[in-house]
């Protein structure tokens, strides 16, 4: 490096030029990531807070605009160009609407709507304000030179230009607490929260316990271990949509194999609607979550198990420890770190999970979690504002969990 410090005069203090250059390089390398992540993560997050305070539905996403239809009507003296204008929004007014177009060569003006001013073949009409759902019409009587069809084609071929001002609900400064009021009022919200907590807690614990069990099975060398490990990863690796539909078909109440099997074995006499009955549906989606994510826990736990020193086990053998004692007093304490990390990570991810429940039950039969509620509010009820409000609640929970995560876990595992 060329800019090394000069002759030694005591230890260097503060930030040296080398360090500054390194920091500059670091920020340079991070800049693209920072830019794109803030564009797609931070901006949307701010947007969701903004929207959650706005009375906005799915239909309001497109700002109101004047819409025009142009047609050439009548014949001879009655030949006229007709412009029908309407407001695309049923509720919001548009102010200062103007329409401008130009006549084709084959048409010339006879009389025009008084609101229009002509400049050669070009004209502009000032239509004033248009109320919500309002309509207007402009007629220009014209004389024809040449063929009518080509004139019609030429007239309708040139699109008229419309201008107008309207307030866009997304960008104005109308705020309301109605969205939060709506989601917190009534029992629904607490029901949804309860379902979310059940799903998250049991889904997480189940995935951890089954992952631990699977990891212990595979924590020994034998032929076919690689194949078995690959096979056990299937639920995690396969696309969620594929496995969710496989489950739906497997547990179908009318023609599902699981029901047929249970009836044949005499476990039940009539078929069970696994994904349609309360509270079974909630248990089933939780089981699905456990099934789908035990491979992830098992991978992490297995990796940690394989790095445990075998000396300890030999020493324990010498001291006459039994297999369960070795598990309880040696393996488990060694695994506690990774287990707690996994618990918190999986807890957060399960809390955030959307696709699984959405595909399995669509949030019906008492399986609506907070994230499914975001979708339900925003798209099924078409109330984007309420959806955003639920999303804000989800995000606040997430921040809470992250604080816990960083406080209790990070020092231990060095994340």
């Amino acid at each position: 490096m060329s800019d090394s410090t000069g002759p030694a005069s005591g230890p260097p203090r503060g930030t040296g030029p080398l360090l500054k250059r390194e920091a500059r390089l670091a920020w340079g390398l991070l800049l693209p990531t920072l830019a794109i992540v803030s564009a797609v993560v931070v901006l949307p997050l701010l947007a969701i807070f903004w929207i959650s305070f706005k009375p906005i539905g799915l239909a309001d996403l497109r700002p109101p605009a004047p819409v025009v239809r142009e047609s050439l009507r009548g014949s001879g003296d009655e030949l006229r160009l007709q412009y029908r204008v309407r407001n695309s929004s049923q509720s919001e007014p548009i102010t200062g609407v103007t329409l401008s177009d130009s006549l084709p060569d084959s048409l010339s003006v006879v009389t025009a709507d008084p609101r229009c001013t002509f400049d050669g073949a070009d004209f502009t009409c000032d239509l004033g304000d248009l109320d919500g759902g309002g309509r207007d019409e402009v007629e220009i009587f014209v004389a024809l030179q040449g063929d009518e069809d080509t004139a019609e084609e030429a007239a309708e071929g040139s699109d008229p230009r419309m201008t107008g001002r309207s307030t866009n609900i997304l960008t104005n400064f109308d705020f309301t607490l109605e969205n939060f009021d709506r989601i917190f009022s009534g029992d629904e919200f607490w029901g949804v929260l309860g379902v979310t907590l059940f799903y998250t807690v049991f889904g997480t614990l189940g995935a951890l316990i089954f992952g631990l069990f699977a990891a212990m099975l595979l924590n020994k060398e034998f032929r076919g271990q690689g194949i078995l490990r690959g096979l056990y990863l299937f639920p995690y690796v396969a696309p969620v949509i594929a496995v969710a539909f496989a489950w739906i078909i497997l547990f179908d109440p009318f023609s599902g194999s699981a029901n047929a099997l249970l009836i044949q074995m005499g476990v039940t006499s009539s078929s069970i609607n696994f994904f349609g009955d309360r509270p079974l549906a909630l248990i089933m989606v939780t089981v699905f979550e456990i099934w789908r994510y035990f491979p992830l826990s098992f991978l992490f736990i297995l990796a940690r198990m394989q790095s445990i020193d075998t000396d300890m086990y030999e020493a324990a053998d010498m001291d006459g420890a039994s297999p369960f004692q070795k598990f309880w007093y040696l393996s488990l304490p060694q695994l506690l770190g990774i287990l707690s990390v996994l618990f918190l990570l999986r807890f957060i991810w399960t809390f955030n999970k959307f696709d699984d429940i959405f595909l399995l039950t669509g949030g019906n039969a008492g399986t609506r979690t907070l994230t499914v509620n975001v979708y339900e509010q925003a798209f099924a009820i078409s109330n984007i504002g309420a959806g955003a409000a639920v999303a804000v609640v989800v995000f606040c929970c997430l921040v809470l969990f992250s604080i816990l995560f960083f406080r209790y876990v990070s020092q231990e595992e060095g994340l």
């Binding site: 920091a23 390398l29 797609v40 997050l45 539909f245 489950w247 297999p323 995000f395």
Partner: protein
């Protein structure tokens, strides 16, 4: 617990439980394979299992003798009708006898593995007892996990090869008629010919590859900076990466949907390629910085001493050293992009631009027979599974590299 630690208790109890597990497994297996009604006879299987367990502990026969004896005994019991597996009237006698014989052989052999090292009928040491229990649990675990993983996959594949009316008639009959030859694959042929799946497959493929390339382009410099360079806010940055990884997609999907609707990016592959890498960059950055930290800094310092610039060091030293990590990160990112459903579902409406997952979602209607849906699921699953099994070693390492420290 200590009351259990006698040969004459442990043997029968484990034997009963084990035969019950095996009989259930065999009944399910034979039902799925032949379509005939088989079921485990609960009490009889417990009883014969206990008897077998007691016999093994008391008489201590060799493994071969135990298997043979159990095999013959189960076939005889099946003939009398009090065997551990019962069957309906329509079940074929041949299958019933073959199944019972196989069950006997398997039970005799595996129960000998579980109980063979017990010293006899008397008191057991804690070691002997716990090891027998662990061997039982291990066997149960293998059967249990293999079953829960394989059954949905088996149902998926077999459903795609049958047709709706056959399936409604007998949902357990997964036998396929091999005489149809290539006709078996007609739902796949229809999927590609009529439902445009060739184009979905191609879209999914190139979207995933582009996502991998873009993710690597952004995350390698970022990860290197976080892992190696000293700057203010490094620790905070490294945490915020993880924090972003935790932000739920549905929260972001809503504003992204609004923004894409307004800018006309909805229904474009460009929009999808724009958004996918952002969901994967934090993961990739996190995994890579963990790996970069593990590389010896001395090698890079030697490069710096020899006059390479930092960027040249990254290109010539760090990257070649971290090829395994790059492979696993690419694989993981590819998997995320390939399996991504939520954004594709919300942002794509135009069937000519569907990705594979979105295409499968469009098959989920009552008018389309379910074998098409399952064929679509198989088409989406098989490539990613094949890729994954081929590169499984990389994957296991890569997934755990970032967060698990020695």
């Amino acid at each position: 617990m200590s009351a259990l630690r006698f040969g004459y208790v442990t043997g029968p109890v484990l034997g009963a439980l084990w035969l019950f597990v095996l009989a259930t497994t065999l009944a399910v297996l034979m039902s799925f394979a032949t379509g005939d009604p088989f079921r485990p006879a609960g009490l009889w299987s417990l009883f014969w299992g206990a008897a077998l367990g007691l016999g093994l502990v008391a008489l201590r026969p060799g493994q071969g003798i135990a298997s043979l004896a159990a095999g013959v005994a189960f076939v005889l019991l099946a003939v009398i009708g009090i065997g551990p597996v019962a069957s309906g009237e329509s079940a074929s006698t041949l299958w019933k006898l073959v199944g019972s014989g196989a069950l006997g052989l398997a039970t005799g052999w595996s129960l000998h593995v579980i109980l063979g090292r017990l010293p006899g009928m008397g008191a057991l040491t804690r070691h002997e007892f716990e090891e027998a229990v662990i061997r039982f649990l291990t066997g149960f675990g293998y059967i249990f996990f293999t079953a829960i993983v394989a059954i949905p996959f088996y149902v998926m594949v077999m459903t795609s090869l049958k047709n709706q009316s056959e399936l409604i008639q007998n949902p357990l009959d997964f036998t396929i008629d091999l005489s149809q030859g290539w006709g078996l694959f007609r739902s796949y042929v229809e999927l590609f010919a009529d439902f445009n799946f060739g184009s979905y497959l191609w879209t999914s493929f190139y979207v995933s590859v582009l996502t991998v390339l873009l993710t690597l382009a952004f995350s390698i410099p970022g990860a290197y900076a976080v892992a190696r360079l000293r700057f203010r806010g490094r620790a905070a940055f490294s945490r915020s990466i993880l924090l972003i990884y935790m932000v739920p997609m549905i929260v972001l999907a809503l504003p992204i949907y609004i923004a894409f609707s307004m800018t006309g990016l909805r229904n474009t592959i460009f929009g999808i390629v724009l958004i996918y890498p952002v969901t994967t960059i934090p993961v990739a950055l996190y995994m890579l910085q963990g790996y970069f930290r593990g590389l010896p800094a001395e090698v890079e310092e030697a490069g710096l001493m020899d006059g390479l610039s930092r960027l040249a060091v990254i290109w010539k030293i760090t990257l070649p050293l971290s090829l395994p990590a790059l492979a696993s990160v690419s694989l993981y990112v590819f998997m995320i992009a390939w399996n991504e459903f939520l954004l594709a579902f919300m942002l794509l409406d135009d069937p000519s631009k569907f990705t594979l997952t979105r295409g499968i979602a469009s098959l989920n209607s009552s008018e389309i027979p379910r074998q098409h849906l399952m064929a679509g699921a198989v088409v989406a699953t098989v490539p990613i599974m094949a890729l994954f099994l081929g590169l499984e070693r990389f994957m296991t390492k890569g997934l755990t590299a970032g967060s698990v420290k020695g």
